[in-house]
Structures are given as C-alpha cells and as structure tokens.
Amino acid sequence: MTEPLPRPPKKDPQKRTMTPTSPPHARSRKGIVFSTFAAEGRLALQTCAACKHVIYPAREICPKCWSMDLQWQDIPDGGELIAETTLRTSVNTYFRERMPWRIGTVKLDAGPMVLAHIHGDVGEYERVKMIARTDKSGQGVLLALPEKETANMADDKQLRSLTCDPKHRRILVTDGRTELGQCTVDALVAAGASKIFVGIAEEWRPYPGSAELAKIPGVEIMPLDVTDTISVNELAGEIGGKTDILVNTAEHVRPGAAMQRHGILTARDEMETNYFGLMRLIQAFGPGMRGRGADGDNSACAWVNLLSVYALSNWPVYGTTTASQAAAYSLSQCLRGEFAGSGVKVVNVLFGPLEESWRQPLPPPKVTPKRLADTIVDALRQGIENVTLGPVAEDIVRRFKDDPFVLERELTQAQQGQAV
C-alpha cells in the first residue's frame, strides 16, 4: 500500500533547486492525437471503422483489414497486468533521477497490448484500471491503477508525477473577493493544500465573506491587484518562490458588443484584467514556477486559467469581454509553450455562463461558482489540462471541434433581427 506523503520540510535556501528534466517528448502526429485526449483525461485509441479492431500504437492503417478509416474512440478502461518489471537504470535523465520505476505490459479489455507505467499498489498479474494523462513532457502516457481504490493512492510517486495534486502544495488564488474565489479556496483547503495565498485588491473596500475567509487555517490574505504591475511584482517578490499552483480567478466581465460601447474605456478595463492581468502574472510568477518544476514533493506544478468558452469563438452578447478572453486564451497557449519541459501544466477550464451578477440576465443552464471551484480541484488532482465545464461549454466545444467556421456563423448570425 502507498505510504502517505509526509508534509515536505521547509526548504533549505542554501541547497540548489533541482533543474527540471523531462521524460521523452517526441511523438508521431498520431501520437500527438493520443496526447490531446490524454490532456482531457480521456483514454481514447484508434478503432477501425471497418472491422472494429482497436489499434495501438497509433497507426495510419488497420493492420487487420487495411482500412484507413481509423476513428479515435474512448475505450473501456479495464485491463490485466501480464508482465512487469522495475527499471533500475535509464538513459533518460528524468527517469534516471526517479529510479526505481515500475512499468509493465497490460492486456486491455478493448483488445490491444500496451506498455504502461504501473501504480505501486497494483499486485502481480492483477486486473487494473487504465488512465491516460499527460506527463511532465506534456505528452500522453498510460498508467495502470489498481482496479479498486487503495489508501493514499494519489500519493504514489508515479501517479503524482502525472497529477498536480494540491495536497501539501502552496497555492495562489488571485482574487478572493468573489464567490468563485472563495469557493476555490474552500475546495483547495479540503484537498489538503498546505497554504493558500488569497489575493485581494483594494483591501479597504469591504466584500462579503471576508471575515470567514480570513479565519480559514492556512489562508493568508495578500494585497494583489492584477491590473497594477507594481502590486503583482511586489507579491511575486514575496511569495513567487513558494507558489506551487496559481489559480487565476480574477476576471472583468461586462455585457455588450463593440458598437454598444462609447470609446474603449470598458474594453480597456476588460483587457487590463483578463489579458494584461494574466500577462503581469505570467511575467512575475512564470519564471519562478518554471524553475521549480522539479523542486521536490511540493514542486511547482500547475497554472490554472478560467476562461469563458466563448474565448474559442466570439459571442457578440458579451462581444468585447469575449475578445479579451480570446486574447487570454491565446496567451495561455503561449504560456504552455513557455512552460514546456518545466513540468508545470497549464490547466485551462472553459466554462459556460457562470451564476454571478454580471451574467445575471443569461438563461440557464449555468455553472455555479462552487461547481467551477470543485472542477478546478478535480482537474488538479487528476492532472487534466483541458476541461470543459457545463452544458453550454460542452455544446460550444463540440461545435468548435466539428468546424470552427460554422460555429462562428452560428454565434454571430444568431444576433440578426435582435434589438440593438
């Protein structure tokens, strides 16, 4: 059984911080498709449309019937461990630093044999439950878990290397003034975070929940205004070296399209928080986190962006806000590039209309702040990078994957005939 992970000791500032190394990153183009599903936490393999054969490793042709119509499909996650080994040497630096390392051959219930990482609680020749996740290189890998949950199983070395578990980690929530920010703090506390820094801009301004927030053990209220470069830099100077996870809950949302605005004042406010706010956080906290991707059991591991699903395609009802969120989404992709190889995951949660005051007139279904907060923590615990939350977001993402140009027409032409 997995030993519970002890709380990491206070860092000795005289000791050198381990430089992040990376497991192998190279993949074929089809291998990257596998990684894309793994980033969503999905176990999907190619299935031959003609003969239903499930195929692994990813190919260009069905080896049974030569059909080239291979569809990626979610497959049953059961399997059986039929051979295993414990590696004690590796030519790759990342693994070499983490030996011994358990791998094995799993016969999937869906058919193929796969090579996989093996969780420490899986017994010899036992049945297993497979998951696909991105590893520290950002590429998808398979891990065999015990079929039934075991005690402390999230603390297993090989599983924890794929997740961003908040347990024993120090987390910055950038805006604690909102219900979303406070729900996020609650969920992170429940997940075992050792310290939660909560950013509050203009602390003299009262806000609901402030007294309760300050009382939560492990919570530290910090002055932070993401629209103010000096404020962001000062906070990073104080806690940047011990921020393991950053959850950016700051947002500025206003209804309205471009022609409904007079001048660019509102649009600039949206950009100041949603785009430049993210930019300031990246510049202030990014380099420190990137350098601490392998810093022991509480290494830096995740950067969470909360993005309206309309970041994918403009929705004129919130036209200028969506534009700033599209800019933020694009910057999050840039951040992924900059974090590549560091072991820090960029977790993007695309959500549908949130149950909060600036989205009050929108019809249901909506996402409650608590649900969004729980989803963030679940994604961190599972190591999932791309999350779509709520029926509206799921619908938009589905249409986006199907054809982004059709989606653009659907979202923009729906406005015709409506009163301006």
Binding site: P23, R27, W101, I103, M113, V114, L115, V141
Partner: protein
C-alpha cells in the same frame, strides 16, 4: 488468393568466405564509415580482392546517417552492379547472406561484400534509443526509457513464468560465453565470470541483471558471398549454405513475445538442409539477452518449448562442450557493435567452418547453425532469421 505449390531453390554452388571481425572498442570518435572501411580493407587484405573484383555490396549499419549503401560505393571506390542496405539489426547477418546468395546464384553479381558496422560515440546509444522507431517513440520509450533492458525484462519474466526457465539457466549461458570470450582475442569482456557472480549481480530491470546485458560498443564485421568454383580457384576456405529462413512480425497477437519467426519456419529450415538438430556441431544465437538465446534454442527445435531449462542444464555450452554455443563469447562478452552484432555469430560460424577459429575451434566442426533476431520496434523483436552452413570441400 489461389496459389500453386512451389519448392524453394537451394543454394548449390554459392558459398560464404573471408570472415572478418574488426576488434571492437567501447567508445570510438570515428564515424561508422571508418568502421565499415576498416572491415572492407581487412577483407581485401585477407582475400586479395580489389575494388574492381567486388560487383555486389550489402551494408548494414544504424549510425551511417546521412549516408546509405549508395553513398558508400563512391566513398569506398566500388562500382557494383548489385547493392543492398539491410535494416534488420540483429537479423542482418543471416538476411544479408540470403540476399547476397540469391544475387550470386542468379548471376546478378559475382562477388558480394557483406559489411556491417557501427560506431559508438559517448552519447550515441541514448541518441539511437530516442529516435529508434515511431512505435518506440510513441509507445515504449516514454515509459521509463529503459531501452532494450525494459522490453527484454518483460520477455524474460514472461518466459520464466510460462516456460519454467530459471535465472540459473540464463546464468549458465552467460558464464559459458565468458569462458569462450577469454580465449577470443577481440572480446571486450576479459574477466572470468562465475555463476555466483551472475546470481548476485546488480539488478538492471527485474529480473535482468548486469551480466544479462550487452555492452554497446563500436565495431565491424564482414564476409563475402561468391560462387563455389571461384572460391576454389582462388584458394579461399569457404562454407556451403544448406538452408536459410527469415520472417518478420511473426505471431503479432502473442501478448508478450515468447517465440519468434523461427517457430513458423523451422520445418522448412531442417528439411531444406536435410539435416537434423542433433547433427549440428555448433550454434550461434543472437544473444542481446540470454532469454533470446533460449528462445532460439526452443524455436529452432534444439529442445521443446518449455524444456530449455532441462536442455541447458544437461549440456555444457562452451566451445569444447556437448553443445557449443556462441563460441567467440557472443555479444554478451565480446560487445554489441550495433548492426555488426547481427553479423557476429555468422562471421564466427564461418571462422569455425573454415578452420580460422583459433583456440576456440570446435573439434571437427562440420555443420553450424546461425540465428539472428532484431528490431525491437515497440514491445518485441520483429525480424528473425537462421542459416545452416557446412564446412566447404576445399578445406
């Protein structure tokens, strides 16, 4: 598809000669070209053949990039009318022999020089593993990057579980090969090895220990394929080819590799030669790990599948033993020089059958079996091949 019965042609009149092994080095700053060149140069010295005499060339190498056999013709001053580049790694010796023999038999070439070689720079083994194959990049290298140690440890544990082989059996193979290597001048491993040392050795990937693993190195091997009457006219000692087989991606649905293509083709292998396993005087297996040698012994019919433990324990495996095996020490004790590792057993077999095996000569060796195995593309070796050779009549 409907298909009429067709009998494969034998290799009458085609022979192998001029076994050349370039002494291996653990690391070399020279490129693969240098190692292949040295093998060819040595071949010329040994046989008196000049660049004009060679009208066929077959090359096997992993580290020749950016060149292939084509570029080598210009580099080495050859104008061959038949050319091949064999990418089958550990099976390349036997497969090169098959290609070259048919070329000579049909008259497409008169004398084919077969050369294999690779260099080993300080970081080239890691670099090769990183880019070895698409399937390995996608589906095996990211899992701990143990390289072949990882894949073969799974095969070894599976073989032990399914076939009852013991670590002592693998140990006996390794120890016997070390005995052979102590007398083979070019072996890199020169300290004696005992079974106790093997059993107590450092674990590399359970159940594989240090002595189960080959040492990557630089080296080259070569031989020629020519017509028997040409060999006789030039007083070159040679061996005849009695039969050969090759197979790729055999038994793809076996969950973990427990057999290779030999098991599909062994009946033809023996019947083509008109020889039975007990008439074989020496066996050269591809020994990247001892479990693969065991698999070849089983699949070629020297013992039943699952009876290898008993077979190994009932025999002595040194060059002077009851079942002479990997008589130069094999890759386990000589070193693994990339694609040259696929030639090592074949070249040693030719030495044995042409009276050039020196202190390691198997007494009165007449028939040798050679087997190859290569290309761990994902989870298993894809290529297998084997050849039966007989001492030539002019020796």
């Amino acid at each position: 598809m409907a298909r009429k019965k067709f009998k494969r042609a034998g290799y009458a009149g085609v022979v192998v000669a001029a076994p050349v092994s370039v002494p291996y080095e653990r690391f070399s700053p020279e490129p693969a070209h240098w190692w292949l060149a040295r093998a060819l140069s040595e071949l010329g010295k040994r046989t008196g053949l000049s660049p004009e005499d060679i009208d066929g060339l077959c090359v096997s190498s992993f580290t020749l990039f950016p060149d292939t056999a084509a570029g080598i013709t210009q580099h080495f001053g050859l104008t061959p009318r038949w050319l091949d580049h064999v990418p089958t790694g550990g099976a390349s010796g036997v497969i090169t022999l098959r290609r070259a023999a048919r070329a000579v038999q049909s008259g497409d070439a008169n004398i084919v020089a077969c050369i294999a070689g690779d260099t080993n720079h300080v970081d080239s083994f890691r670099a090769m593993l990183t880019t070895f194959s698409r399937f390995s990049q996608d589906a095996s290298y990211p899992y701990g990057s143990g390289g072949p140690n990882g894949s073969f440890s799974l095969m070894t544990s599976h073989h032990m579980k399914s076939c009852g082989t013991q670590r002592e059996d693998f140990g006996k193979i390794c120890v016997a090969q070390r005995v052979n290597a102590l007398q083979y001048p070019d072996a890199l491993m020169k300290s004696p090895l005992t079974l106790e040392q093997y059993m107590d050795a450092r674990l590399i990937a359970d159940p594989i220990v240090l002595f189960d693993c080959v040492m990557p190195c630089a080296g080259a091997e070569a031989y020629v394929v020519m017509r028997e009457d040409d060999a006789q006219a030039n007083n070159l000692p040679y061996a005849n080819i009695l039969s050969t087989i090759e197979r790729h991606n055999a038994f793809p649905d076996d969950p973990v590799q427990i057999r290779g293509g030999w098991a599909l083709d062994k009946d033809e292998f023996w019947s083509m030669a008109g020889v039975k396993p007990d008439q074989v005087d020496l066996l050269q297996t591809y020994d990247d790990y001892p479990v693969i040698s065991v698999m070849q012994m089983e699949d070629l019919g020297f013992c039943e599948k699952g009876a290898a433990s008993e077979f190994i324990q009932a025999n002595t495996l040194t060059y002077d033993g009851t079942f002479p095996h990997n008589t130069s020490g094999g890759q386990l004790s000589v070193g693994q020089a990339g694609a040259a590792g696929g030639f090592l057993g074949l070249v040693e077999a030719i030495r044995q059958l042409t009276g050039e095996a020196g202190e390691n000569a198997v007494p009165d060796a007449r028939i040798a079996a050679v087997s190859g195995f290569g290309i761990i593309n994902f989870d298993r070796g894809l290529c297998s091949g084997a050849a039966l050779l007989e001492r030539g009549k002019n020796d």
